[in-house]
């Protein structure tokens, strides 16, 4: 019994340490958002704000178009996530379940694409999108983000589909299920935890992406949050750190909600159940 308690204490201590380390920068960002400019560069630093003010939040909404950026970011990220998950589960299933000509080639090709440094894409995208007339559109951004999300998502789903036992598929076939039906009704539900993980990663990647949006977006009304917030940073002038932190905190909220609400799907037992049954 005692050994178990000691274990528990160590466990909790570890967790507490990690919490402090991981959360400190976020804590710093959120508290900075409530500080006035003079409270930010101070010795000793204000770990707990000496006074709280909503001035930064007011400024974020009045001086910067955060509402527009917010909506754009949400549109882009949600659409990217939905489409990417559909396309990636399709492809992951295809690679996992079938043997066909070109299977190895495309598997490697897709994974290798993730190794490409982002810089490689900037000028080609610029030129291609210009010819197609889709520069400065959210649509252009979405298809680029979907493509960027595919390698990781497909690789993940391949792994998850691989873990499913082949007997299950054979049973489904015997029962007369078409391939698509097997995919839709049997395989997908079983890898829901995997889908949730992948969805979180894809959403976050799209939501926080900066470099490509810098290249592809021009006008203020099409800017996404990372691009909009970066505009607050100044060279050789004062950067409004408090306002930046406030914008960052506001931007942080959807991601936070996403993480908190999907936690219950990432639970043990679902896959275990499938195997047992």
């Amino acid at each position: 019994m005692r050994k178990q308690n000691v274990e528990k204490v160590i466990l909790y201590l570890l967790l507490a340490l990690f919490v402090i380390v991981f959360l400190f920068p976020i804590y710093w960002a959120v508290t900075t958002s409530f500080k006035s400019a003079g409270q930010i560069m101070k010795v000793p630093p204000e770990f707990f704000p000496s006074s709280w003010s909503l001035q930064n939040y007011a400024e974020v909404f009045t001086k910067h178009q955060i509402g527009t950026y917010f909506i754009n970011s949400l549109i882009v990220s949600v659409t990217t996530t939905l489409c990417a998950i559909i396309v990636a589960t399709f492809a992951g299933y295809g690679f996992s379940r079938f043997k066909f000509k070109g299977r190895a080639f495309w598997q490697y090709a897709i994974i290798v694409m993730r190794m490409v440094p982002g810089l490689v894409f900037i000028i080609p995208y610029y030129i291609i999108f210009q010819r197609l007339g889709i520069l400065d559109t959210l649509f252009g951004l979405i298809i680029v983000y979907i493509t960027a999300a595919l390698p990781l998502a497909i690789w993940l789903f391949m792994g998850f589909f691989d873990e499913l036992p082949t007997e299950m598929f054979e049973a489904a076939k015997i029962d007369g299920c078409s391939e698509f039906g097997t995919y839709w009704r049997i395989a997908l539900p079983l890898i829901v935890p995997g889908i949730v993980v992948a969805a979180i990663l894809v959403f976050l990647a799209a939501y926080n992406e900066f470099s490509l949006s810098l290249v592809l977006i021009f006008t203020d009304q099409n800017k996404t949050l990372p691009l909009g917030i970066s505009g607050m940073i100044q060279l050789q002038k004062d950067t409004p750190f408090g306002t930046l932190a406030a914008a960052g905190t506001i931007a942080f909220i959807p991601a936070l909600i996403l993480a908190l609400t999907t936690q219950k799907y990432v639970q043990a037992g679902i896959t275990a159940g499938a195997v047992k049954g």
């Binding site: 400019a37 003079g38 560069m41 197609l132 007339g133």
Partner: protein, 476 residues
């Protein structure tokens, strides 16, 4: 079968969406550069600025809604620059009938974004950028000569001679051609603790220690003596911890050297783009820099904009060389030096200049309207619209207006600095300006870290300068 049907439907749907986006944008009709609307006399009203009534907001009578239906796209950096333009655009639209769209990009990424578009996309009609970049565009044939427009459609109030001469020559002209209007003047300023310099106790102490009268230094010699006095390490009775401070982090450290280079008679490059600093002037400037290191904060090399300014505002520094933006930190409520700071010209009398200029691209769809916009935002009354966005005036007449001069205590120092300044913060060499900056930064950082002797650094800088400038086929 049903499932397969659904799949096929999905595919078609996706294809349709993709194809619909692929349809090329309809080109704007009426691409003629001629004004379309009818000319109708118009008076534009704007709120007073600094108590001055703005009377000439219609281009001296040349604007009257005749550019209706034309759209101008102007690109610049997000922040004060974009805000200033957007503000002026409001009134310009009223006067001219044209629509102005300001597109802005984050600092640190704006240069590459705008360069990429100028080279490939051609979406912008006008750009507001730092001077070295504007000159680079001129050399690359990306912006056009404004003289033809000045000759034909200028406002009667244009008055080119009204621009501060050094600004006109170094910002607006390039190789003798008029390529841009000066928009924002910028120079390194000298900030000093007026209260300490005027304190009789401290004056007495200074006289005792050095045998000279305490005065705001203008020569490099006096500068070093005063700095030594105000540094606790060398003078335990000093009221401040450090005699001198500035930014010395990477991308900012070359200013310390440059602020002395011209004072000693050197330059970064001459008109033929040949390096002009590997000489006595450059060496003395380096040595001064190392001297200053003795009186500067221990963390000097890590100080960027925010920390360096916060340090000065905390009262621990007696003198500082910095861009005018330091003013807002000094005058903020938490500042311990509020109201105690004096403004002057950097010791040596030849500070480094910054500055922004606004130019028209070669591919401007409506060049006449675009020119009128450039002229508008830098006109006598028009340029006052931007003063509240920290975009200081560029015209002598405006500095002669007492309300303007009184609005910012730094203006007298700024004017003196602009007339004495010779070197631009980014070398005025097209195409390779950024590379030359980094070459200077690497060398000066090495000297500051005592990893390289000043002469070796000067040699290396000269070598690399020549290499890079030759590689793009300039001068030499």
């Amino acid at each position: 079968m049903k499932k397969k049907f659904n799949v096929i439907l999905l595919c078609f749907l996706t294809l349709t969406i993709v194809l619909s986006a692929c349809s090329p944008k309809t080109t704007e009709s009426g691409k003629s550069p001629q004004p379309e609307g009818e000319f109708k006399e118009v008076t534009v009203e704007a709120p007073d600025v600094l108590g001055i009534k703005l009377t000439d907001l219609n281009g001296g009578g040349t604007l009257g809604g005749q550019y209706a239906g034309q759209k101008i796209v102007v690109a610049t950096r997000t922040g004060d620059f974009a805000d200033a333009l957007k503000n002026a655009a409001k009134y310009f639209e009223e006067a001219s009938g044209a629509t102005v769209e300001i597109q802005s990009f984050p600092a640190g990424n704006d240069v590459e974004k705008i360069q990429l578009d100028l080279n490939t996309g051609h979406h912008f009609d006008a750009v507001l950028m730092p001077v070295a970049n504007v000159h680079g565009y001129a050399e690359g044939g990306l912006i056009q000569d404004l003289q033809p427009y000045i000759n034909t459609i200028a406002s009667p109030n244009l008055d080119i001679d009204d621009f501060i001469p050094s600004l006109w020559e170094s910002y607006g002209l390039y190789k003798g051609r008029m390529v841009a209007f000066p928009y924002k003047p910028d120079s390194q300023l000298f900030f000093y603790r007026k209260d300490l310099f005027e304190d009789p106790e401290i004056q007495k102490q200074y006289k005792e220690k050095t045998g000279m009268d305490l005065a705001v230094p203008t020569t490099v010699e006096d500068f070093l003596t005063v700095a030594e006095f105000f540094t606790q390490k060398s003078n335990p009775d000093s009221p401040t911890k450090y005699g001198y401070s500035s930014m010395a982090s990477k991308t900012n450290s070359r200013l310390i050297w440059q602020n002395r280079l011209a004072a000693f008679g050197g330059n970064d490059v001459d008109e033929k783009f040949k390096p002009e600093f590997n000489n006595e002037a450059g060496l003395k400037a380096m040595e001064t820099m190392l001297e200053l290191k003795k009186y500067a904060p221990a963390e000097w090399l890590q100080l960027g904009w925010d920390e360096a300014n916060a340090l000065f505002a905390s009262g621990e520094v007696a003198m500082m060389e910095q861009w005018p933006g330091l003013y807002s930190t000094i005058e903020s409520d938490n500042s311990k030096v509020k109201g105690k700071v004096g403004y002057g010209v950097t010791p040596g009398g030849s500070p480094t200049m910054g500055g922004w200029a606004i130019a028209m691209t070669n591919t401007a769809k409506y060049p006449e309207a675009t020119y009128k916009f450039l002229e508008y935002v830098t006109s006598k009354d028009g340029e006052l619209l931007k003063i509240n966005n920290t975009m200081d005036p560029t015209r002598t007449s405006n500095y002669n207006r007492s309300e303007v001069l009184a609005s910012n205590p730094m203006y007298p120092a700024l004017l003196d600095s602009l007339s004495g300044a010779k070197i631009l913060v980014d070398p005025d060499v097209p195409f390779v300006s950024a590379k030359l900056c980094d070459i200077m930064e690497n060398a000066i950082q090495a000297v500051l870290r005592e990893e390289m002797t000043p002469q070796a650094a000067l040699d290396e800088m000269e070598q690399n300068f020549i290499k890079e400038i030759k590689a793009v086929g300039l001068g030499l």
